[in-house]
Amino acid sequence: MLRDVDLSGYQKITGKNVPRESMVASGHRACQGCVEVLAMGMVTRAVGKDCIVCNATGCMEIITSSFPQTAWKTPWIHVAFENAGAVASGIEAALTAMTRKGKRKGPLPTVLAFAGDGATADIGLQALSGALERGHKFIYVCLDNEAYMNTGVQRSSSTPFGATTTTSPAGKKSIGQSTRKKNLPAICAAHDIPYVATCSPAYHLDLMNKVRKAMAVDGPAYLHIYSVCPTGWGCKPEIGISLAKLAVETNVFPLYEVIGGRYNITKKVAKPKPVLDYLKVQRRFRHLAESDVAGIQKQVDDSWAYLNALAAAFPAPKEKGGAKEEE
């Protein structure tokens, strides 16, 4: 499952040349403090104007496209909930065939699919798997806010253990979500695609550079972006970015990339903070007992150890120049 990946076309973003223009105009209808739309904007900044966006049904589609208004400065298409991978496949195949046949000119625009965690981990997993396996050159971005937020905070397979949602409610006989979060980056990496990465909007340069690497590789790329949802998680809308940072600092959501099967942990946390710091600021976890928190801490530690073992066994080559990321 290892392959050499050519990243020679990678155009790095530094603090000095951060692209200013988001392709998502302001004035959209996202909730106060929505980090998902912020993350989506960061992705489009890194990609630029020459792209086609394919959006699964979900919060981002609803808040940006109420006819006759649109927040999109790039071509944008929404078809249905579970098929962003398939629609993007069709777009990429059409661009490639039409270019070959002389029906369009110029380099291929970046084909970008956005979908939430439900549209990715649950209902759209098959279409995503098909698109990755077929090797279409596109970037699939999962904006993970860990539940079906658009329909009112129902659990998905990406909801973390212990979180209360409207369909995994905590109660006398329930801890809330009783299953562990589905490991989507691992599933995508298992498709033997050139590039997989996890990103956090609290580390915007890291996020945008992962987008740039995804653009550079020849084949499908998958980005899994941690997207704080104050409405669904029950946190203060102003703490979205600091909560995203806390998720990384506690190892709840580690930042790494898988380049042709080789791992690179892009944010190594020297002294991880206790998971409790992360849990206690969110209403979705407030029912948890001390022993539950200890159990979650163990899950986080185990996952972190597993990731480190993978990174030690299959290390990614060091990036040329070795420029230090932000922070």
Binding site: K49, D50, C51, I52, C54, E61, I62, S65, S66, F67, P68, T70, W72, K73, T74, P75, W76, I77, H78, V79, A80, E82, N83, G85, A86, V87, A88, S89, G90, I91, A93, A94, L95, T96, A97, M98, R100, K101, K103, R104, P109, Q126, A127, S129, G130, E133, R134
Partner: protein, 390 residues
């Protein structure tokens, strides 16, 4: 008339799609559609067709990829059948609402359960109200011809709607028939290059598939229904142009048998040819009988159908699909409502026949005729040839 070649009809359809120089084919295999898409993938592999062949992982993705491709401006084709069409159902509504001129062959097959790979029209009848232009072929030549016509209809800027070309599974798809082909230049002279109106182009950004709030939803629906009704004139025009181009003339509704016949069969699809033989036999036996073949199912050619049936006293509508718990089969429902309130309405009988590949023979039609003539069909509809009272 050009040279006729004996060929399996599926391969003739694939040839038609190749001659139309499609840019993208997205397809998932399902019996009895397979030979069409296998042949297309061979064309692509051998360089005979310059297209992207997307071997999708399901029919839902086949239609979704077709939507993405067509929205990008590519001439796009897919084909399916039965369960596959049912899996596409959700996206079937979205393609016409986005005004995307996708062409799809439907190798008509019965829907499960019980699972059956054989022919009837239950698959397409479940998609009746999706907003597609729906054409039915009667034989192999029609399947070849109407596939080419479908692209010209779909892509006409007065239409911009997807077209489903129905052909009976196995009965047509797997039959070897003599078919008159055309060369690329002849097809090119008939089918202009596709000039899409709006595409996903970064130089001219548009948003496709936005949210339709209650204030705009009905207007959007009305617009595309209007486009569907308006497409009827284009269908007529394209069929006429085809007749001129090839000498093979088709109409949305066609009559056969005795003029002003007292008893008239209405059929759709390949049963038309069986009925034709039965009608010929009955006329030879001095019976007053005729036949109407319905080629365009959506938009329904109301005026043409009413005109075709205006002199009939008895109409026997054959449905190859059951509408369980309904008043009668889908085609008969249309024809009954067409004559509602009409003082001169004929007596309309409905026979549901040939489900799940059950053979409907010339003899069956002759028996149906005898029952109708004798006024012996009492129920709203009869399910033909069921072996017990079960």
């Amino acid at each position: 008339m050009g040279k006729r070649v004996g060929i399996e009809v599926s391969l003739a359809v694939a040839e038609a799609v190749k001659l139309c120089d499609v840019d993208v084919v997205s397809a998932y295999p399902i019996t009895p559609q397979t030979h069409i898409v296998e042949e297309l993938s061979h064309y692509v592999a051998n360089g005979d067709l310059d297209a992207a062949f997307i071997p999708v992982e399901s029919e839902h993705s086949a239609m979704s990829a077709a939507v993405g491709s067509s929205a990008t401006g590519a001439r796009t084709y897919t084909a399916t059948s039965a369960q596959g069409l049912a899996l596409m159902h959700e996206i079937m509504f979205i393609a016409p609402s986005m005004r995307l001129p996708i062409v799809m062959t439907i190798a008509n097959r019965s829907l499960s359960g019980p699972i059956s790979i054989w022919n009837d029209h239950s698959d397409i009848m479940a998609e009746r109200d999706t907003g597609w232009i729906q054409i039915f072929c009667e034989n192999g030549q029609e399947s070849f011809d109407l596939t080419i016509c479908a692209f010209r209809i779909a892509e006409d800027k007065r239409v911009l709607l997807p077209v489903g070309v129905n052909m009976d599974g196995f009965i047509l798809t797997h039959m070897i028939e003599p078919i008159e082909f055309m060369d690329k230049a002849e097809v090119k002279a008939f089918l202009p290059d596709y000039k899409p109106q709006l595409t996903l182009n970064p130089k001219k950004p548009v948003s496709m598939g936005p949210v339709g709030v209650p204030e705009v939803y009905m207007e959007a629906k009305k617009q595309y229904e209007q486009a569907l009704w308006d497409s009827k004139d284009v269908v007529k025009e394209v069929l006429a142009a085809w007749g001129k181009h090839t000498g093979r003339k088709y109409a949305m509704v066609e009559c056969n048998g005795k003029k002003k016949a007292k008893t008239v069969f209405v059929t759709m699809g390949s049963l038309g040819e069986t009925a034709m033989t039965a009608v010929d036999n009955l006329i030879a036996a001095k019976q007053d009988v005729g036949q109407v073949r319905l080629r365009l199912w959506r938009p329904f050619p109301k005026e043409e159908m009413k005109k075709a049936l205006k002199d009939a006293a008895k109409v026997v509508v054959i449905d190859r699909a059951l509408s369980p718990g309904g008043v009668c089969g889908p085609v008969a429902t249309e024809i009954k409502s067409l004559f509602y309130g009409d003082k001169n309405a004929p007596k309309i009988y409905n026979i549901v026949a040939g489900l799940g590949g059950r053979d409907v023979s010339v003899k069956d039609f002759e028996e149906m005729y005898a029952l109708a003539k004798g006024g012996k069909i009492k129920d709203d509809y009869v399910i033909w040839g069921v072996k017990s009272n079960a």
